[in-house]
């Protein structure tokens, strides 16, 4: 269909050369064969990592996500964040990005989200600390798991993960603070990161005022990367986060919350075609939340498989689960996380490195709601500098 449209566009263009019908049919067949044998590497979200930053020293860029959504049930769960809640069109995100070196010692990066009118990140980062150390200060997405520090246009789906929403918020956890990280001097990549943030709240954490070090949110992460072969790579992360529980008891005793998680990303690119890749990403989480006269324990996670099928096509499937292990305070159940099952599949087409069309179907079964079918069609475009993404 798309090929036909493209073909039509060229045919209708002024000054177009008349085409031979048999040539056109042959080229369509050859193109389909090429599409099955090539894909872009290093681009798990289908939109390119390539940047045409030009001479703009601030590397200003805009990314716009527009979606059309349909839900089979009117009383479905409203997930919030970038996800639409009603049938019809929705501006999911209008993001401004900028970043630059400040001097030989610091750089800054920011992401401002116009749809929610807030900074998703605004970070000053050291570039010249000794001992393989780096410090970031400002407001930043906490490095916890594989999805929390990724923005909308890096996802393989039009919506966020359930675990991110249930543990933190529909937009994950992004709070002011400081983050120290150390590239451990080992032969393989090992990074230890500790985020210390405060003056904010998530579904599991509270830091309303700071009177001592116990009032902050601490999030250590250890990640290790292994080149299993020239064509197979593995990233393994261990995550924790400790803070006050957002549910203090009546005796003014600070309840605590504890989050533990692990994530695994396995990527394979065949030797015969460096442009094809398969990426399998899995995250698992466990939470203990002290609430008045109760201990809330729940767990869940997600697993997704994303395939770059061709230069322009990407497909992904994801399964998610969330289960309560103990605790039965109804109000907390509603706010923290409901027993859930969700399956999603997406197909994306990128006409160029800077635009992408995505169709997604999802089926969710969430405690207290009826089975819901979700359809989404998303158009994403990037203008200006589009920063490189991490692995």
């Amino acid at each position: 269909m798309t090929l036909a449209l493209l073909g039509c566009a060229v045919l209708c263009a002024p000054g177009a050369v008349p085409l031979l019908a048999d040539d056109l049919a042959d080229f369509e067949a050859a193109l389909q064969a090429d599409a099955q044998s090539s894909a872009k590497p290093g681009d798990s979200n289908g939109i390119s990592n390539a940047v045409v930053a030009g001479s703009d020293p601030l590397n200003l860029g805009f990314t716009i996500d527009f979606g059309l959504f349909g839900f089979s049930k009117k009383d479905h769960r409203a997930h919030g964040g970038h996800m639409a809640n009603r049938n019809g069109p929705s501006i999911q995100g209008v993001e401004l990005t900028a970043g630059s070196a400040i001097d030989p010692f610091f750089r800054f990066d920011l992401q401002y989200q116009f749809t929610h009118q807030h900074f998703e990140e605004m970070v000053i980062e050291t570039t010249a600390l000794p001992g393989n150390l780096k410090i970031r200060a400002g407001q930043f997405r906490t490095k916890l798991g594989r999805s929390n520090d990724r923005c909308l246009h890096q996802w393989s789906f039009v919506d966020h993960q359930l675990s991110t929403e249930y543990l933190f918020s529909a937009e994950g956890i992004s709070l002011p603070g400081i983050e120290g990280s150390w590239l451990v001097p080992l032969p393989w990549y090992t990074e230890l990161t500790v985020g210390i943030q405060g003056l904010g709240q998530t579904r599991s954490q509270l830091s309303s005022e700071i009177n001592g070090i116990g009032d902050l949110i601490y999030s250590p992460r250890l990640s290790q990367f292994f080149d299993l072969t020239d064509y197979t790579s593995l990233l393994w992360g261990l995550n924790t986060s400790f803070a006050h529980s957002p549910y203090p008891d009546h005796m003014d005793h600070h309840n605590r919350s504890y989050i533990y998680g692990t994530d695994l990303t396995l990527k394979w690119q065949p030797e015969s075609d460096s442009r094809f890749s398969l990426t399998w990403t899995t995250e698992g989480w466990y939470r203990e939340l002290e609430v008045p006269q109760d201990l809330w324990r729940d767990a869940g996670g997600s697993s997704e498989l994303a395939a770059q099928l061709s230069l322009s096509w990407q497909a992904a499937v994801r399964g998610e689960i969330w289960r309560r292990l103990s605790g039965d305070t109804p109000s907390i159940r509603l706010q923290t996380g409901l027993e859930s099952l969700r399956g999603e599949a997406s197909v994306s087409y990128s006409p160029s490195h800077f635009s992408r069309l995505r169709f997604q179907y999802g089926l969710e079964d969430i405690e207290g709601y009826r089975l819901n079918h979700i359809f989404a069609l998303q158009l994403e475009v990037s203008a200006g500098a589009h920063g490189a993404h991490s692995w």
């Binding site: 090929l3 060229v10 031979l20 080229f27 044998s37 930053a53 790579s233 230069l311 203008a383």
Partner: protein, 296 residues
């Protein structure tokens, strides 16, 4: 006291034997640095010769290599902009950040073609600073080699004489090969070909071959059946003899195009490691020999 002396000797021995660690984005630059630096350097390339340098996978293991690097060699002109910056930021090695002697964009050493102003993405993925595929022109590689030699001298002044000697020897080798390649290509001057991506202009300048079009309708934009049909109609009169492209681009469409245009599709190596090449001179050797074989 004896222990301290022993440690001092060990440290001295370690420092004395420590090599200059050079990391390059494309393997061709690592090869040239190795040829010039000899035993004084150890080189690592982040990319394999079969990978598309526009879209590399920024693997965290590359940060480990960059963390230990004394010198980073990149092509520049935003060719690696989509994957190199997060690696440089994550490597925590100030030596290889822009503005320091350990960061060398080799595009600064060569005359560039297709510099553009007032260009936007409606024209495709254009590199404003110039076309970045210059390393496959051996004449320009001589200039790059000179620049790498100077860069090595800046970070390892004690090796100045060795690097100068290494450069002279390599340059002489390149000059001899250039004369040989030019002699082989001379009978084919002016012969026409079609490129897949506009990545051959520097080599065409060197070889005096002429490009009459590209399979990609615009740089970085995937061809459509209609765009290739239009190209076919346009270039049939020109009678191109070859369609040339790198191995990482799709081949079915170009093969069919070549067949219909009465040309031969030739998949050429452009980086060390592709098609079994072991060094830069083998890359150009392979390129020239394959082109000549098909033109003959």
């Amino acid at each position: 006291m004896r222990t301290y002396c022993f440690i001092a000797v060990l440290l001295w021995a370690f420092c004395a034997s420590a090599k200059v660690r050079v990391v390059s984005t494309i393997p061709d630059l690592a090869d040239v640095a190795q040829q010039i630096g000899g035993d004084r350097v150890e080189t690592v390339a982040l990319l394999r010769g079969t990978q598309d340098p526009h879209f590399a996978d920024p693997k965290p293991s590359m940060m480990v290599a960059l963390n230990k690097a004394d010198l980073l060699l990149s092509v520049g002109l935003e060719l690696e902009q989509g994957w190199l910056p997060p690696l440089m930021q994550g490597a925590r090695n100030n030596k290889i950040l822009p503005g320091n002697a350990g960061y060398l964009e080799v595009s600064q050493f060569v005359p560039l073609l297709e510099k553009r102003t007032n260009v936007d993405r409606s024209e495709g993925d254009i590199h404003k600073g110039g076309n970045p595929h210059f390393w496959i022109d051996p004449e320009r590689m001589r200039l790059i080699a000179k620049g790498i030699s100077t860069g090595l001298q800046a970070i390892d002044p004690e090796g100045k004489a060795a690097y100068e000697a290494g450069f002279k020897a390599y340059d002489a080798q390149l000059q001899a090969k250039i004369a040989d390649w030019k002699a082989k290509l001379a009978p084919h001057q002016g012969k026409k070909l079609v490129e897949y991506h506009r990545s051959w202009i520097y080599f065409l300048e060197f070889s005096r071959l002429v490009s009459v079009g590209e399979i990609e309708p615009k740089p970085g934009v995937e061809p459509s059946p209609s765009s290739v049909s239009a190209l076919l109609e346009r270039v049939r009169q020109e009678q191109p003899r070859l369609v040339i492209q790198e191995a990482y681009y799709p081949q079915n469409l170009s093969r069919l195009f070549a067949q219909k245009a009465g040309a031969a599709l030739v998949i050429l190596p452009t980086m060390v490691g592709a098609q079994g090449t072991k060094n830069y001179i083998e890359v150009i050797d392979s390129m020239v020999n394959q082109i000549i074989a098909h033109l003959n």
